[in-house]
Amino acid sequence: MRIICVSRGSKTHGKDFAEALAAKLGYHCLSREELFEEAVKRRIPIGKLETAIVMRRDTSEALSIELEHYKALATSLLCERALENNIVYHGRDGHLLLPGVGHILKIRVVLDLESRINLVSQSLNLTRNKAKQYIENVEDDRRSWVRKFYNVDWDVFTLYDMVLNLSQMSVQNAALAVCSMAQLPEFQPTPSATAALRDLLLASRCRLRLSEDEKARRLNVKVRASEGIVHVTYPHGAVKGLENITTLIGGVEGVREVVCTAAETNILWIQEAFEPEGPSYGSVMEIAASWGAAVELVKFTPGDSEEVASPVPAEAESEEPSGWRETGIIDDEDRTYQDETSDIARLYARLISDGKAGRKRTLQGSQKTLLNSIDRATSYRLIILDGIFLTKGTSTRKRLVTEWSNALSDSLKVPVLTIDQIVSKYHFGPKQTVQMIACAALAGLSLYTVFHFDDQILAFLSRPELKWRLVSMVAITAFVPFFAQVYGTVTSSVLKLFKFD
């Protein structure tokens, strides 16, 4: 199950390159066009979707649901093929289709503009200017498609492993060079990658199962899976048709449990060890309730070694992975699922009973493993990163948590906070009450003093001597920020109290 994804623009020799690469490696080649054909067979209005995205129209809810159907179809086909064989996929969005699967070799193929203009001019019989315009339009359409589908920019090259310019290289030689790259350890499948692929396959099959039912087809739900548990999130108030979900999804092979949660957004909670009965739970639940968010749990054990440390031998790929504890997802013997008494399982049970459960996962690895495991298309409003690097000293732990928080925040453009920061930013407890009362008293006293003794203050400020003018200047300079701080604390406390974010 080795996977190479080739992202290509129009007329860049990307298709030829992908086919040459697949032929040299003996991999199966799958194109985006094949996924489109399959979508048409399944009545997904792919043409309508393309037009809406290209014309930059706001997609209606019905079209957004069809977008989810297409995404599920593409993911399931790609996962099925990838689990059966080694594959080369080529299309505009190859590098984004399988989020969380770490071992994919992601290549972008480009060609210089002049060569592309010549190719378009010849194939479509256009003038140079029209050919150039055509290329620019197609590129813009692709950018819109990728932005709409995955919420990222197509041209951000840090999303690829490498970019190849075929202006000077022949397709065959470029493919030959990549062949040996594909054999390197970092692009070999790991047990965690296989598990991620299976989760994606299960989630996409469940989403497709819903799309086959006349009533459930129109539901605007998000489906994700982890270790056989399928999580369905739906907007608050959307009740019609939901009653069938559990029955429909429960019938899909591999589903152990279905968890439905009403949620508008998600909070990702990453910790090395959870305390299901601890005070942190209440703090997180308070903001989850006020935002209408589902809480996704990731039990993450940082490790120095990359998850590629021990690649799975080719002949063992089709077998059930063993020794998972060593290289990726920590899982239990005989591929049974996590101990029901583990911290994450107990916390998850609490979340289910409170109706706020997202996914739960257990991961081990580096910062890159964590970043790769997060689906960029999922809407996260907050990431909580706390209680990791437990074996390190306090100062090292603090530094590492800050570094990882910055990396997550930079990469995902989502605020990353610790539990303490959440408490101070969003919560209104006894400490905040005392603070608010004290600041309100100070602010009131300041205002009373200013308005009651205004004549004396004005007289003091308008003394003509230089010495007193300097003193008044210092007094004003000190008073203004003091009052601003005190008044700001009162207003932010009031907003917190009434849950205005």
């Binding site: 490498m162 970019v163 310019n165 022949s170 060079a177 990396a407 930079d410």
Partner: protein
């Protein structure tokens, strides 16, 4: 055999990759050496030259004589160095000055901002915020510099043959891939590519000679060379200036013939006023 140029943002691991390739291929690594040899050859302060090469000219100082002269000198020095073959150049403007030479493999390194910030923090002791601000400022300066001088987008992938993302692949893997490409037939040194390099050097030397002359440095002309024959195109203000340009070009060592297609601004003006009545 090839010439490899490495472009990257500050603190992206460019020097480390150059050393890795030096080890793998046995090529010579060059960066600041090009500027030093240029400073020696043209008797300029190395720091001045470095500054002109790294800082985008301000709106007020856009392309003074000194600026354009220094840049031409650096171009000459880089092409001169490239004639040695088997070099890895990880300094400024490599892919821009050696554009169009077939045996030049243009590599760009991409690294996630976070990794670069961390490298900057480790190397300089700055805080994360200061490091991030400094990196973004340098990136913007370089982008503006390339856009202004060459009309090209620093981030355009078509400017490079291979872009490696060090956030996802190791230095070793990037090195292996580049080694394979450098040894491929597409980047082999051929008589044709060497001739093109020699032509490019002659073009730059003629331009350097013209730029060095205070009377003609700012004339709007283009120079092309082929096997010692130089062709100059453009428009100048007077016949005297045209003759001066030709004389200067002919005085450059290696120029065997000088073809001129230089029109006079005064002729154009006359054609414009009286030519269509």
């Amino acid at each position: 055999m090839a010439i490899i140029t490495i472009s990257r943002g500050l603190k992206s691991g460019g020097e480390a990759l150059a050393r890795e390739l030096e080890k793998r291929l046995g090529y010579k690594c060059m960066s600041r050496e090009v500027i030093s040899s240029c400073a020696r050859k043209y008797n300029i302060m190395e720091e001045d030259l470095y500054q002109k090469l790294t800082e985008a000219p301000s709106l007020w100082h856009r392309m003074t004589k000194e600026h354009s002269r220094y840049l031409i000198y650096v171009k000459c020095a880089l092409i001169e160095a490239a004639r040695q073959d088997k070099i890895i150049y990880h300094g400024y403007a490599g892919p821009l000055y050696l554009d169009g030479i077939e045996h030049v493999l243009k590599v760009r390194l991409e690294a996630p901002l976070d990794l670069r910030i961390q490298n900057m923090v480790d190397d300089t002791g700055l805080s994360r915020e200061e490091a991030a601000a400094a990196l973004l400022k340098v990136d913007e300066e370089r982008r503006r510099w390339v856009k202004f001088l060459y009309g090209k987008d620093w981030y355009d992938p078509a400017l490079y043959d291979f872009i490696a993302n060090l956030g996802n692949i190791s230095l070793d893997t990037a090195g292996e891939m580049i080694e394979m490409l450098a040894n491929s037939e597409e980047f082999a040194t051929t008589t044709r590519s060497v001739n093109r390099l020699n032509d490019l050097l002659l073009e730059s030397e003629v331009l350097a000679a013209i730029t060095a002359d205070d009377r003609i440095w700012d004339q709007n002309i283009k120079v092309a060379a082929q096997k010692g024959a130089v062709t100059i195109r453009g428009m100048v203000k007077s016949r005297k200036l045209r003759n001066l340009i030709v004389e200067t070009a002919e005085s450059v060592k290696g120029v065997t013939r000088c073809n001129t297609h230089i029109s006079l601004a005064s002729d154009q003006l006359r054609g414009g006023i009286f030519g269509h009545d």
